[in-house]
């Protein structure tokens, strides 16, 4: 979830919300006159927001990359989000500064991930060039929709159909072709435009989960729990994955490659899919356990 470091009501409570990630924003939710103060609050905000075991990202401003990064690159930051990325040069410039700061601040070089946010048509058409621009981990790739893209395309948002069919799919395909996880590409209508309704988050999570997408963002705390729950592997999915793996093992032992289980085909494809389900379930469980321990420590400390 995005959090504004300048608002104590938001930043002080963020860790209690149970999110997997908090994004400390210096960009669009921060008024121009507050940017300077916001920068100086990032370091202490990291400690506040990750008390509950969440990962920490920082969203900087494209026009102020040089000014923002020295305030954004600290131990405890997992990812820098670079908005409105449109060219390989945008990424190279940010990468060079982050590398220098990592060296200066004793952070393992290359450990901070860089997330190019695709928010314009130019960024979308240049996506492959962007994703191959720097020797730094680009861990996931979504976007090519949203508020800025709507402005660039000159469209009203919140239509009942997918207004970003090509750019979102194109960006996701480019990412997948480079073994970068894709986090976009699934359309869920939200004709009200509201960002605070949990049932909308649940629908969004269900659609993403069905498409194999593991991450989604939020602008309001009401979205967090529906997303965390909806994007996690369910008990039924885990049970089914175990059955598929057991059945495929039996087939393999018998020298066969295709069988049936409860009327469904079991083959190598289903076997691999089941393994991925278990991997994802294990990752979710590990994150939940980590957050629970951190949350417990933080609650004891604040008691």
């Amino acid at each position: 979830m995005f959090v504004t470091p300048t608002n104590p009501r938001f930043i002080d409570k963020a860790w209690t919300r149970g999110g997997d990630v908090y994004i400390l924003d210096i960009e669009d939710s921060i008024a121009p006159a507050e940017k300077e103060r916001c920068r100086t609050l990032i370091r202490e905000s990291i400690q506040k927001a990750n008390k509950g075991g969440a990962s920490i990202y920082v969203r900087i401003n494209k026009p102020f990359v040089d000014a923002d990064l020295p305030y954004a690159v600290w131990p405890g930051v997992d990812r820098i989000m670079l908005p409105k990325t449109e060219s390989a040069d945008d990424l190279r410039h940010a990468h060079d500064i982050i590398t220098r700061l990592e060296k200066e601040r004793g952070i393992p070089v290359g450990s901070i991930e860089l997330y190019p946010m695709i928010e314009s048509t130019l960024g979308a058409v240049n996506i492959h060039e962007l994703l191959t621009a720097v020797p730094r981990k680009l861990s996931s790739m979504g976007g090519a929709g949203g508020y800025d893209m709507a402005m660039n395309l000159g469209i009203e948002m919140f239509a009942s159909f997918d207004q970003y069919a090509w750019p979102v799919a194109y960006v996701a395909l480019a990412a997948l072709s480079l073994d970068i996880e894709a986090t976009g590409g699934v359309f869920v209508p939200n004709t009200s435009g509201r960002v605070d309704q949990g049932d909308q988050a649940a629908k969004q999570a269900a659609a993403l989960h069905a498409a194999g997408v593991h991450h989604s963002g939020a602008l309001h705390p009401n979205f967090i729990q529906p997303l965390v729950q909806g994007l996690s592997a369910t008990a039924d999915e885990v049970a089914w994955a175990h059955k598929v793996i057991a059945e495929f093992d039996k087939l393999t032992d018998a020298g066969e490659s295709v069988g049936m289980l409860d009327g469904k085909v079991v083959d190598k494809y289903e076997y691999d899919s089941a393994l991925r389900t278990l991997e994802w379930a294990a990752a979710c469980a590990a994150k939940d356990a980590y957050k629970a321990r951190a949350m417990s420590r933080a609650q004891q400390a604040s008691a």
Partner: protein, 332 residues
């Protein structure tokens, strides 16, 4: 809503909102009507249409020196087509583009529409020829636009290279029927979904990425091209605008009014943008750059979008005013 009202809503309509701001959309070209230079009623139809742009089709008549014939007749046709204040273009076939450009490029046109394009080289060749023709025909250098009627798989596949091939590139027109034919698809709308949805979205994205725009209609009307009831056309235009199209070819004169009204922000939207700008400005005064209106988040891009769309509404009104003045002049 008239120009004065819109300007009062946003006094600095001509002032750039940010460094590098480009007009959005690039052109106020909501309705485009194709007319033949052989049409005896060309001037009357163009004048009565209120189209933002007219595309002239120039048939090559057998048994004549078609180049000499067109050279003799096109200048008058351009003048006739412009009577109602429309921008005038000439449609040119890619296969004989060099010869056709020589015969139809004259002062008074805003550009040419190339059909049958399959590669960026088609654009660069036309652009080079326009460089020379502008000099020889007294047209300002670089003034002529090159638009592309997308009717082949090649044009779709190479769309980015085509759009980047020349600074003259302005618009992609989606010719759905021709494209379906080229792709081996049925050219009647029998499906429940738009089979060209992905292609349309690609062309809109690519054209916008170079500062241009895409023109087209939503499914199924874009493919059927029916002379449908106004309510149906109105709904289709809204859908097309929400997809990112900035105007459409109008196969029927009845579409033009609907397109002129539909491919621009409505008065209700303009009023909402004013509210967004006011609420956001109040938030900024309180040090908040993210404020809600009815549960919707209003932040920097939403505020900026509201300002850009007010400019768009204003430019559309200015265009309408200019056409009205052209009609008054022609009426006197």
């Amino acid at each position: 809503m008239n120009t004065q009202t819109l300007q009062a809503m946003q006094p600095d309509v001509e002032k750039p909102l940010f460094v590098g701001e480009k007009p959005m959309p690039k052109y106020i070209r909501r309705s485009v009507l194709a007319l033949s230079i052989d049409d005896a009623q060309l001037g009357e139809k163009a004048y009565a249409s209120w189209a933002d742009a007219i595309i002239l089709d120039c048939a090559k008549h057998p048994g004549r020196d078609w180049q000499a014939d067109l050279k003799a007749r096109v200048p008058a046709a351009i003048q006739a087509a412009a009577r109602g204040g429309a921008e005038v273009f000439v449609r040119v076939n890619r296969d004989s583009a060099a010869a056709e450009l020589e015969a139809v490029v004259f002062s008074g046109i805003a550009g040419v529409v190339l059909k049958g394009v399959t590669a960026p080289e088609d654009i660069t060749a036309a652009a080079e020829q326009l460089d020379a023709l502008e000099v020889s025909r007294g047209i300002a250098h670089g003034a002529l636009e090159i638009d592309v009627e997308v009717d082949t798989a090649g044009a779709v596949w190479h769309s980015l290279a085509i759009a980047r091939a020349s600074e003259r590139f302005g618009v992609f027109y989606v010719n759905e029927a021709a494209l379906c034919q080229n792709l081996g698809m049925q050219s009647t709308p029998t499906l429940a979904f738009d089979p060209l949805e992905y292609i349309k979205s690609q062309l809109i994205t690519v054209a916008t990425s170079v500062g241009g725009q895409a023109m087209g209609m939503s499914y199924p009307l874009g493919l059927a091209q029916d002379n449908a009831d106004e309510a149906i056309v109105k709904k289709a235009v809204r859908l097309a605008r929400d997809t990112g199209f900035k105007g459409s070819m109008c196969p029927h004169a009845a579409w033009i009014k609907v397109c002129n009204e539909g491919f621009r922000p409505t008065a209700e939207e303009a009023a909402y943008y004013v509210k967004v700008i006011e609420v956001f400005a109040e938030g900024i005064k309180r040090g908040m750059a993210s404020v809600p209106i009815d549960g919707k988040m209003i932040d920097v891009p939403v505020d900026l979008r509201a300002k850009l769309y007010l400019k768009w509404a204003n430019r559309a009104q200015v265009r309408d005013d200019a056409k009205a003045r052209a009609h008054e002049r022609q009426g006197n």
